[in-house]
Symmetry: C2
């Protein structure tokens, strides 16, 4: 049992919860766990995501310091997305959430 | 960096995210980290929560196996809420989210 000193403090938790508030946020983070990817690669990997949803999700994660965006001056321009150090730390929370879901939610890893 | 095998699997993560999908869920869980509490105690501790929101949040958490509800046959009836084993495990995720928010969100523990 957690002691009172370990109780979550609200602004910090709210910041963490907001990261995964969008429908696609955790899917994008988990894709980027595999390494940097371009927009089109992400869209292909995330079946069913629209260009608008992917754009919005990447912007949402970039604004929260989870994802970094690197532009290469090719023609046409190439944009690559990757997890920041903060994003990698966050992905560890998602792994713990998955483990909780598997242990307590009666859900398999499939 | 997580390896592909560590990537969150979606149904389990969705189950975990759903736990804190309500505005008051994490507040109620963190209150119950201090031990079992009755409805009125919870309402007093959670400034600004309405009876309906607290009722709905407790039901939401009970349905997901986070909170257990114990009824004592007093007059009037006494109902006590506490974290289940699953709820205690979940509160550890919230502690990690807090720590992430403090480390990466630039938020203090106050």
């Amino acid at each position: 049992m957690n002691q009172p000193s370990e109780i979550p403090c609200y602004p910090a938790i709210v910041a963490a919860i907001e990261v995964i508030s969008g429908k696609w946020s955790y899917s994008v983070i988990s894709q980027l766990c595999q390494g940097a990817q371009r927009f089109n690669q992400l869209q292909r990997s995330l079946t069913g995501i629209s260009i608008k949803s992917l754009t919005d999700t990447l912007r949402h994660l970039e604004q929260r310091g989870i994802v970094s965006r690197k532009v290469f001056p090719t023609v046409p321009v190439t944009v690559e997305y990757s997890l920041t150090e903060s994003g990698v730390a966050y992905s560890e929370i998602l792994v713990r959430m998955r483990d909780w879901g598997v242990t307590w939610g009666g859900l398999s890893l499939d």
